[in-house]
């Protein structure tokens, strides 16, 4: 009688017996004999057609029956037959799990998109700089769409004034770091992607190190120094930069440093704006305000361009500059071209490494908050006889057109006239919409230590709108 050794995983079908005696003279017969005695064992040895399963090996002594007479191998009386399960497996080489395929179905069924584009999204790494107004829709849509790795750079914490447009966050996140709040939200939106956080300010020191690992950058910053920094870092590292910006009712979008199918490199931010505007002239959203839904519109366009750049589907907004005016519902698209005198990407580059962008733009990337007063509050002070000094930092010809009785000290001369500014009572400083007066306050605070200065929010324009609508706007 031959002995059959049953492998451990199959012993539950043989009443936990490891060795069985069989009377049969061949392998084939002995398997039949086993199947008859232990019906549950049969399906683990034979397939539906009665053939030995491919992952079951049978050894007689030390020899594989495949090297002998296969199932017809004869058994001697003292033969020892071992059933050896083939042990194999491995990590999945399918790019998508069932859940992912279900999730991305509406992408995959678009004829011009398909599984190929979805695979590219999953393999891609996108760095989103700024997780505020623009960053919120960009991050939400890129995460939902299945971008495999998303990096987020932001040093800020969630403030209650953010919630009007930064739809990533809710009241429970106020005071928490934006990147962490964003990560939680995005992970609950799509567990199949990876989120990397950089809870820091992007600077000339860390920008190359952070950006180098990504395929595409989406710039949603709110200040000029960081804008130029992101642009230059993308040029130095050869990364496409999907740009968007917003102010009040207007938004802009473009794709910079994009290399098309013919290998031609498109223009970048410095081709559009060779130099930053004079410091303080253009207020930021924090100073000038923004319609809450605007970043939702513009950030969604930005996310759409990121997806097109990654997948190669469609024609990205390369060499073109898109402007949307929500107030009049007007859109325009301009053509832009690379400039030969571009100091980074032109014929004779003079900038070959990152520079000091705060110095270049004449402003700090991160400003400390200044005290503010609204037009309504100013009017209240005026009618209640509150003692204060009012200073207008616009230019004399602007003052000619309209003024509200402030003392004229243009921004350029403010530090020379610091002695004219009161230290004993409150001082309200204004300009047209609030940018230049904020700059004046910062200079006075930094250089002369004033602590009694208030910026008129929205400038003389806000005052005209809210208090004296009969005055002229220019």
């Amino acid at each position: 009688m031959a002995t059959i050794i049953i492998p451990t995983p199959l012993r539950k079908f043989t009443n936990n017996t490891s060795k069985l005696e069989v009377k049969s003279a061949t392998i084939e017969e002995s398997i039949k004999e086993l199947s008859l005695n232990f019906p549950d064992l049969k399906k683990h040895l034979l397939d539906d057609t009665g053939k030995l399963r491919s992952f079951v090996n049978i050894f007689v002594g030390d020899d594989d029956i495949r090297d002998l007479d296969n199932v017809h191998t004869k058994l001697s009386d003292n033969a020892v037959v071992s059933i050896v399960p083939a042990i194999a497996g491995g990590a999945s080489d399918q790019t998508f799990t069932k859940e992912e395929l279900a999730r991305y179905n509406r992408h995959i069924i678009i004829p011009d998109f398909g599984l190929e584009a979805q695979k590219k999204l999953k393999a891609s790494k996108v760095l989103v700089i700024g997780s505020g107004g623009l960053g919120s829709p960009v991050l939400l849509y890129l995460a939902a769409a299945g971008v495999g790795t998303i990096g987020i750079v932001d040093f800020d914490v969630v403030d209650d004034s953010n919630l009007q447009r930064q739809v990533l966050f809710g009241v429970n996140e106020i005071g928490k770091p934006k990147v962490e709040a964003a990560k939680r939200r995005l992970e609950s939106l799509n567990p199949h992607i990876e989120i990397k956080l950089y809870n820091t300010q992007l600077t000339s020191k860390n920008a190359l190190e952070i950006i180098k690992d990504y395929d595409v950058v989406a710039d949603g910053t709110d200040n000029f120094p960081t804008r130029y920094l992101v642009n230059d870092a993308c040029l130095l590292l050869d990364k496409p930069n999907v740009y968007a910006s917003i102010f009040q009712f207007e938004g802009q979008v473009s794709v910079f440093n994009y290399v098309n199918k013919d290998g031609e490199r498109g223009p970048n931010y410095r081709d559009l704006y060779p130099t930053p505007p004079p410091a303080g002239l253009v207020p930021s959203c924090a100073e000038g305000g923004v319609l809450g839904v605007l970043p939702g519109i513009i950030g969604s366009l930005q996310a759409s361009e990121v997806i097109k750049v990654i997948t190669g589907v469609g024609e990205p907004l390369n060499g073109r500059f898109f402007i949307f005016d929500a107030l009049n519902f007007e859109t325009r698209t301009f053509k832009i071209k690379p400039r030969e005198d571009n100091p980074v990407s032109g014929k004779n580059p003079t900038i070959t490494m990152l520079i000091d962008y705060e110095q270049f733009c004449g402003v700090k990337a991160v400003e400390k908050p200044i005290k503010e007063i609204t037009a309504d509050e100013l009017y209240n002070w005026q009618v209640t006889g509150e003692k204060f000094q009012l200073i207008d930092v616009r230019e004399p010809d602007e003052y000619e057109i309209v003024n509200i009785g402030g003392e004229l000290i243009p921004l350029g001369t403010i530090t020379d006239n610091a002695d004219k500014i009161d230290r004993d009572k409150k001082v309200v400083i204004h300009c047209k919409v609030g940018g230049r007066s904020a700059k004046a306050i910062r200079e006075l605070e930094e250089k002369f230590g004033f602590d009694n200065l208030y910026n008129l929010k929205g400038g003389i324009f806000a005052y005209i709108d809210e208090v004296e609508p009969e005055l002229t706007k220019y």
Partner: protein, 141 residues
């Protein structure tokens, strides 16, 4: 529940990390009490897969027989298989399921760029589908 003794867990994790970017594999030994398994010993074997070992493993019949003998000689039970998933989660793939044996525990060690990831254990149910077996922290037993 499957309890893995720290020494066995360490050897398994070290094998997974050292074999990266390829998949490693080996056997699990121990005792079974009711529905609970206690892994006390492992046997590291060669990944016999010809070709791409980054995504596949295979254990030769000779090594399987060696494992059965090892269990007999040491008075232990052969309770399952471990293998690694380099840069993939510790979740069984379709390749794992199709080739899986009943009753065995399949412990998967995830390794992400040379760093140890999660270790999870799985067993086939009656419908030939994997169900997770909890691996409690050893110190709490």
């Amino acid at each position: 529940m499957i309890v893995i003794e720290p020494k066995a867990k360490r050897s398994m994790a070290a094998d997974a990390v050292n074999t990266f970017p390829d998949e490693c594999c080996g056997f699990l030994f121990g005792i079974e009490k009711g529905n609970d398994r206690f892994i006390t010993d492992i046997l590291i074997v060669n990944n016999a897969k010809e070709g791409d070992k980054k995504r596949r493993f295979e254990i030769s019949a000779k090594d399987y027989l060696k494992a059965e003998r090892y269990a007999d000689e040491n008075g232990l039970q052969l309770l399952g298989i471990y293998h690694s998933h380099p840069n993939h989660p510790a979740i069984p793939s379709e390749h794992d399921r199709v080739a899986a044996q009943p009753w065995f525990s399949y412990v998967i060690v995830s390794v992400l760029e040379k760093k140890l990831g999660r270790i999870r254990s799985w067993r086939l149910n009656e419908e030939q589908q994997f169900e997770e077996e909890q691996i409690p922290d050893y110190q709490f037993i």
